[in-house]
Symmetry: C14
Subunit: 88 residues, 14 copies
């Protein structure tokens, strides 16, 4: 069962670096969205409601991308379907 | 069946890094689109409806790119057609 | 049939990273196009129709580039013509 | 039990670099969000309340991304589910 | 016929990465062209016709570059002239 | 006990580079936050109190990210839970 | 004739990556040229004729650079003069 | 005791490069903070006191990040806790 | 005559990548020159003649750089003077 | 005593590159600080005294970062505490 | 005379990449010079003569840099003085 | 005494590249400082004296960083203290 | 005399890449200097004489840097003083 | 005396690349300094004398950095003090 070592090692390292790289894009995108929401709010305080609604929809869309990344990594860590070819 | 190790290991690592890199572009593009939607809303609050419609179409187009990426990765993880050349 | 391993492994990894890199450019381009469409709409709300038409044509052209990338990858995954030199 | 060395070594190095890379994006995004909150506050001091509320929601969303990263790393360090294939 | 493996593997990986890198430049160029077309349309709505004509010529020129790239890759995948030195 | 060498060496190098990379993002983010706080203060000297409050909350949030990084590194240096699989 | 493998493999990979890299510069340059043509047209709609003439000359000059690249690659793929030293 | 060579060599090189990389971020952040403090002082000379106070708090926060880095490196150079697993 | 393989392989790969990299700089420079010519034409339509003359001289100078690159590559492909040391 | 070679070689190379990289950040930060001091002085010549005071404090803080780097390198070159594990 | 292979191969590859990299800087510099000449001409059409004179002197100076590069490469290709140590 | 070769070779290469990299940061910082001094002088010619004084102090501080780098390299070239462990 | 091969090969490759990299910085600097000279001439046509004098001094200073680079490379190609240790 | 080969080869390659990299920073800094001198001269033609004086002092300071680099390289090429450990 020596070969499982490489699977475990590779999956673990990939999971850690994958989530670290995968949150980079969404984090920058969220920073930009919040940035512009605050600027818009400073220029048009009376339309706060529609700005907040747009911001929340946007943050949810961006968060969905980070969730895709997290889901793939959790599948790899907890229930990798490819392991069925080796373990049984 | 020692060679399956490399298939499993390579596919797993590629899937994790692929989704991490693949959400980078769509995330930045979404951040930019939301950014400009909020700026447009702050300059023309009365045309909120058409701004929201354009934003949603744009986010759907960008999301489609992330979905392409997710679909390829799910195919690789759960039902890789190339495995038919090895396993049977 | 040991050599098929490398074909399967290489094709799988290339497919995943190829789609991840291939959506980067179109995603950024779409973000920029939507960005400018929303800015144009905020400056000239009355010409919304022609802006939307130009935006849709542009998004379709950019999407076509991502489709080129997706098609090559699906060919590689499902029906690689080069495999005819090895398998038969 | 010589193979555990590589698991321990790889997981430790990945955990340290993973958290170092993983806080990069959220840190820059937070800097940008605080930046724009302070600018908005300087331009519209009377709407401090709604700016603070938006800023807190945004920081929480960004922090959630760093938490995803931290959680994956703590799982890897303290309770890696993949180790079950090797140790028992 | 062991050497065909490397040809197939190298060509497949090169094709996938080649199209992924090759659409990067045209995508960014198209984004920029559509960007400026929309800005021009917002500043001079009455000259929409000549803007659209220039935009279409430009997009066609840029698309031609992506087509060069696609053609070379399809030649490599389906009818590589260099294979005549090996296969027959 | 020759294998402990690699654990010690890898952990030490990872800890040093990890903290060096991990303070990069928070440092830049803090520089940006202080930058905007000083600009806001120069534009609205009378709202110094609320600017300082926002700045302190923001610096604390960013510092928390650097603390995450420091904590993981101190765990690795002083009490690495993964060593339990090797040493005892 | 084992050595022909490396020639075929190297030439094929070089051709694909060469065209992918070679269209990057011309694509960005075309995007910039079309960009400025559209901006110039929006500022001086009455001088459309001379703008179009300059744009076409410029696009032809840039296209010539991509053609140099394509020609070298087609020579390498279909009629490489250096092969005369090996094959005959 | 040949293995101590690698520990000493790795720790020394890591310490030197770690401090070199670790002061990069704080130095740039300090440059930015001082930059904005001087700009704020030039625009609002009468609020010099509160600008200086904010600047000092900010520089202390940034310096704390460099100190984290220095502390980890001094621990590694003078009293590495991981050496207890090897030396005694 | 086994060593000719490496000459042919190296020269072919170098020629393809050389032309791909070599057109990058001239393409960007041409894009910039055409950009400014169109901007100048939009600001001073009456001095079109002298702008066109300057642009053509500039494009010729930049094209000369790409020609240097093409000439070296054609020498390498068709009549490499260094081959005289090996072949005869 | 053959192993001392690697210690001496590694330490020497690390010291030289460490100081070269370590002065990069502080140099850029100093350039920025002096830049803004001169700009502030040009805008508010009468507040030269407080500008100079702030500049000196800032330069001292940045210089301290370069000194950290220099101190670690001098320790490594002249009195490396880790050598006690090998030499005696 | 097997060693001449490496000289020929190395010189050929270096010559091709050297000219490709060497025209990058001059091309960008020429693009910038022509850019500013056209802008200056659009702002001061009456001083066309002195602008052209300055531009030509500048282009000649930049071209001289590309010529240095071309001369070194032609020396290496046609009359490498270092070959006297080997061939005779 | 074969091992001295590596010391001499490593030290020489490190010294040359160290000084080349080490003057990069100070050179850019000096360029920026002189840049702003000249701009300040053009805006406030009457305060030339205090601008020159500030510029000289700044250039001396930046020069000190380059001197640190030069000193470490001269120590390595002429009187490396670590050589005492090998030579005697 | 087999070892002379490596000297010739290394020196040739280094000379070609050295001049290619060495003209990059001076070329960009010249482009910038000519750029600003033309801009200055467009703003102050009557002070053409002093602008030209400053430009020529500057170009000569920058050219001197490229000459340093060329001289070192010509020394290496034609009269390398270090060869005295080997050849005689 | 086979080991002298590596010293000669390493020193030669390092000298060529060292000077090529070492003139990069000073060249860019000079370009920036001349740039700002010309801009200052265009804005304040009457203070040409003090601008020229400041520019010459600045160019001399930057040139000194390139001279440091040249001196180290000439020491390595003509009179490397470390060679005393090997040759005698």
């Amino acid at each position: 069962m020596n070969e499982m070592i490489w699977i475990v090692l590779g999956s673990t390292i990939a999971a850690v670096f994958g989530i670290a790289i995968g949150v980079l894009g969404p984090a920058l995108a969220m920073g930009r969205a919040i940035n512009s929401a605050l600027e818009a709010m400073a220029r048009q305080p009376e339309s706060e409601r529609s700005i907040m609604r747009t911001l929340f929809i946007g943050l949810a869309m961006i968060e969905s991308l980070a969730i895709y990344c997290l889901v793939i990594i959790l599948i790899v860590l907890f229930k990798n379907p490819l392991l069925a070819y080796i373990v049984n």
